[in-house]
């Protein structure tokens, strides 16, 4: 496919992903509100919030790294998108596979941490003690999430003998029984549980919950910076869901399937969040080491011998 056509498709895909991420976020808040018996926010609230944040007249900066933090976070999200095959069309060179290549799985794992580290540096320069505490908690929990996730992903890579997400999706086509969910249940279980931490909803949202040590790393961020972070949040939520969809739930054959599957995956974390109260950071780390980590080790053992 011509590179310019591919670029056009990728940009269009990014636009869809940003808007779907915001709509999905609003829907989940609406569901949460209905659970509590409220009306909740209007569906278009995230767009208005974004507009308002971009239209504040004063912005305060604490230095270059402070400015780069949200930029890093957004580029982490966009990086996740750029190398992720979105819709399976039967050809690696298809319109919606973005710039997926052999070995993109490793790059995707790196991009998951990229935004987090950027935020850590940026918020650290803000100088607010609550930011530093938020970062320490965030990185500690993220390490506990990444470990079972990586173990499970390595197990899937051994299973299909490839580091290409596209090939993993290709191998799951045909029947629902070809999904990793059924062919590698331990890895799937580890991913489904670790996913709760990666998506960052209750019970694992202590890092960024508004009523815990203010709002975590984002304490000092405002206006345009916050707008960037909200955009990044929308992209990252969808891309995490799409990653798990590609790895465990057989990928998507059309945008409609992608939207339904990513919604259900995201809904799983919201469902758990509605049922369970928030964990303290030491509780959540212990939990990640007790359950998903053990499952991840089992998944590796299963395919190592």
């Amino acid at each position: 496919m011509n590179i310019y056509v591919k670029l056009a498709y990728t940009l269009l895909g990014l636009l869809i992903v940003i808007n779907w991420g915001m709509l999905m976020g609003a829907t989940m808040r609406k569901i949460g509100a209905r659970m509590a018996g409220r009306h909740g926010i209007p569906f278009h609230q995230p767009w208005i919030n974004l507009l308002k944040n971009f239209s504040t007249r004063t912005t305060i900066t604490h230095g270059i790294m402070y400015y780069l933090g949200p930029v890093f976070r957004l580029s982490g999200g966009v990086g996740l998108f750029l190398f992720m095959p979105m819709v399976f069309t039967g050809a690696v060179d298809g319109p919606w596979t973005n710039f997926s290549f052999e070995g993109d799985l490793v790059l995707i794992l790196y991009f998951q941490v990229f935004g987090m580290l950027g935020m850590a540096l940026g918020a650290g320069e803000g100088g607010h003690p609550y930011s530093a505490m938020g970062i320490a908690r965030g990185l500690a929990q993220h390490a506990a999430v990444e470990l079972p996730l990586t173990l499970a992903i390595v197990s899937i890579a051994i299973q299909y003998d490839t580091l290409s997400i596209y090939k993993i999706v290709e191998a799951q086509q045909g029947s629902i029984l070809n999904w990793v969910l059924f062919t590698n249940p331990f890895a799937a279980a580890a991913i489904i549980l670790a996913m709760l931490g990666a998506l960052g909803h209750s019970p694992f949202n202590l890092v960024k919950a508004p009523n815990e040590i203010l709002i975590g790393p984002a304490t000092e961020y405002e206006g345009t910076y916050l707008g960037f972070m909200m955009t990044a949040g929308a992209v990252i939520h969808v891309m995490e869901a799409v990653l798990f969809m590609n790895l465990v739930f057989g990928g998507a054959n059309s945008w409609l399937e992608l939207i339904v599957k990513s919604f259900l995956i995201y809904f799983w974390s919201v469902f758990v969040g509605m049922v369970f109260p928030r964990f303290k950071i030491e509780q959540s780390i212990t939990w990640f080491f007790k359950v998903p980590f053990v499952l991840g080790v089992l998944a590796i053992l299963m395919y190592s011998f």
Partner: protein, 240 residues
């Protein structure tokens, strides 16, 4: 500098500040906020003035609306997304929690609570304001990004209310910070607060909620008023 030296220095500073008290003008600067010299790891000496190194002493500037269709559109967005700072100053803050419950649900009007002044653009002064709290309110207000709005809740913010002759509370709020919307009553019900939000939205949409600029324009006057009532002024004049 060893710990012993530091202790010595601190006690010296304390003695100095006591000496200041004896002089005619009272100085409320805390020992840790005083001008001092610190030896850096490479041996160089750095002068530190905590009050002005950690905060900005730049005066606020007026940032006038650009006008036209774009400003109208942005004003609509600002009106539909009001982020309120979670800072209850007086007894009126008991009226705020019901707003997030099913009965009054402020989220449907685009009103949300934010935990940090950096991210909020509305401030509810809920009821009486003691002089001690006023100091914190001023610092918080100045940290909020412009355009910012203030809702004054209850009679106490208008004329002192039942605390009109109290030694520790202020009577008229708008002498110290500019107020966009007053919500009268003692206490106003949550419905009244919601009505206040609707009124604020109307003002923002009409482009009349420019009190942050008014504060910047009359900055010296506001500061003089604030300093008249806050006796232990030990912070920079402008601290965002």
């Amino acid at each position: 500098m060893s710990e012993l030296d530091l202790n010595k220095k601190t006690s010296e500073m304390l003695a100095n500040s006591k000496a200041n008290v004896k002089n005619s003008k009272k100085d409320f600067t805390r020992p840790e906020d005083e001008l001092r010299e610190v030896v850096a790891p490479d041996g160089s000496i750095i002068k530190i003035n905590p009050l002005y190194d950690y905060f900005s002493d730049e005066k606020p500037k007026e940032e006038l609306p650009r006008g036209g269709v774009v400003e109208k559109f942005l004003n609509w967005a600002r009106a539909e997304s009001i982020w309120v700072l979670g800072f209850g100053t007086g007894c009126g803050s008991i009226e705020i929690p019901p707003l997030v419950t099913p009965r009054f649900d402020m989220f449907r009007y685009g009103v949300q609570m934010r935990p940090t002044p950096r991210q909020s653009n509305a401030f509810i002064i809920s009821g009486y304001l003691s002089v001690k709290t006023l100091k914190r309110v001023i610092r918080t207000y100045e940290q909020m990004p412009s355009p910012k709005y203030i809702l004054a809740l209850g009679s106490c913010t208008i004329n002192g209310g039942m605390y009109y002759d109290s030694y520790s509370t202020i009577n008229r709020l708008d002498k110290y910070i500019p107020v966009d919307v007053y919500i009268a009553g003692c206490m106003p019900r949550p419905e009244a607060l919601l009505h206040g939000f609707v009124k604020l939205k109307e003002l923002i949409k009409a482009g009349k909620a420019e009190k942050a600029n008014e504060y910047a324009r009359n900055f010296d006057e506001y500061k003089a008023n604030q300093k008249k009532i806050i006796k232990d002024w030990n912070m920079p004049d402008y601290n965002w």
